[in-house]
Symmetry: C2
Subunit: 279 residues, 2 copies
């Protein structure tokens, strides 16, 4: 591996999102079919790394990983769950898809419902949408007052710093698509009887706020890309690159944990004798 | 497909568990390598069926599926999660591994913690251990009084009937292994530095209660294998058969839902025009 994909995709402060190519393939040289072949080939190494993390958690370590997926409608959160996250062992994974908050959730601080879904020791948590919705859709539609939104950026940074201090590796990914790609994908949903159920007329209304969403993303990335929990911008107009990149990001961050199999805390010979000398 | 695997594995009232071959391969004719090839080949059809279920839930149906996995230590719940459940789209799945109950959980009725983990509409729920622990380990170790355990069988039947009435398909599987197989697998864990962390000296203590566990399973199967929610006994000495059988059971029960793609509740031409005539 030459340079890590996390470096290639890391958000750099001051970047204009509009300058980042949504059709780019940073860190990947090959074709679509190369990527579709390379992604499942990550599975055996990921399985090994994930099991080491799980084993560490099982034997008292506090290490864990949290993948945060954010992006406009049709940017591919669902496809990533199927193709990249689907390579993981579901037994060591904790996935949460955050929807429009309930009345009860709204009666608490915005981080309340997030807190309840954090991965446990040894687990890989996956957030399909996240606490960032509370500075994205909430900001675009002015669902709360401006001062409260301002407060949230620092609150998010403090929250994520605490998770990192607790032993969590946070991998935040914005799935970056062009408005033309979104239009194509929405039209494709309308044309396909197996996809029509995914389409909502509100999706077209939301497109009308494209620029406001991009501005809200820009602020969130600028404010909340920290040393402890940097943002990554994943070009997502090409589904095959997007899926491969997320798989690769997971692999890299798991490998960086540099975990080994835990030492047994019992006497192996003694336990073997107990089993072999059963009456 | 000749006869469905759910028929071949269904628990028949009055059966003596000891008479069921733990090395059997009911419903499968081929070899180990055939089964290891056949299992991933189920994936495309399962993906289609799962997405139809998810789409139904998304558009108002209350259908859902719950797979319950029970079995002695080393019977392969973890392997099933990796190999069979791992074929599903994690986005439409809700997996819960039940551990020793917490103090808070014990302060409630035994079904309280179960209720909170049930799959939502359109979801496939997976229970790695379940409410049956409350008539298995609890009975073997007399963790509550006999009258309370007796009460629980009927409480489970009433609970499961309610879930079925709500639209849930329940697939209950006992992973059936021989004590010799368990011994082999425990010894294999001791011998393998990548598996030693899974071994606990208490596992050997628990083996001492083998017959009491088999008796507790026999009672649970006899009492709680109902028309609404039958038990299946999956011979699990051969891992490849066990994984294939669970995949096949999932596929069969998903197919039996006989779902189609939901009809759109909006006007397709109108929405296409909105997208195409954007300013």
């Amino acid at each position: 591996m030459s340079s890590p994909i996390s470096d290639a995709l890391r958000y750099r402060h001051g970047t204009d999102l509009a300058d980042l190519d949504t059709r780019g393939t940073p860190g990947f040289d090959g074709s679509k079919s190369d990527a579709e072949k390379a992604l499942p080939e990550l599975a055996p190494e990921m399985a090994d790394l994930q099991e080491k993390l799980f084993a560490a958690g099982y034997t008292g370590s506090d290490r864990r990983l949290l993948l945060v997926l954010q992006g406009m409608d049709t940017s591919g959160k669902g496809g990533i769950l199927r193709h990249a996250v689907g390579l993981l062992d579901p037994g060591g994974m904790r996935l949460k898809s955050f929807k429009k908050p309930t009345k009860e959730e709204l009666s608490h601080d915005f981080l309340w419902r997030i807190e309840r879904e954090l991965p446990g020791p040894g687990e890989i948590g996956i957030f399909d949408r996240s606490h960032y919705e509370d500075v994205l859709v909430v900001k675009v539609h002015q669902l709360t007052d401006a001062a409260e939104i301002e407060r949230r950026y620092d609150a998010i940074n403090a929250f994520e710093q605490r998770l990192v201090d607790e032993g969590t590796v946070i991998v935040k990914c914005m799935l970056h698509i062009s408005p033309e790609t979104q239009k194509e994908r929405l039209l494709a949903r309308l044309d396909d009887p197996t996809k029509q159920w995914k389409f909502k007329p509100e999706d077209v209304d939301e497109r009308g706020h494209w620029d406001a969403y991009q501005a809200a993303y820009a602020t969130a990335l600028e404010w909340c890309s920290t040393e402890a929990a940097p943002w990554h911008v994943v070009p997502s107009d090409r589904k095959w690159y997007r899926n491969w990149a997320i798989g690769q990001l997971l692999r890299e961050h798991l490998a960086a944990l540099d975990l080994d199999w835990p030492e047994p805390d019992y006497d192996i010979a003694e336990q073997r004798a107990r089993l072999e000398n059963e009456k």
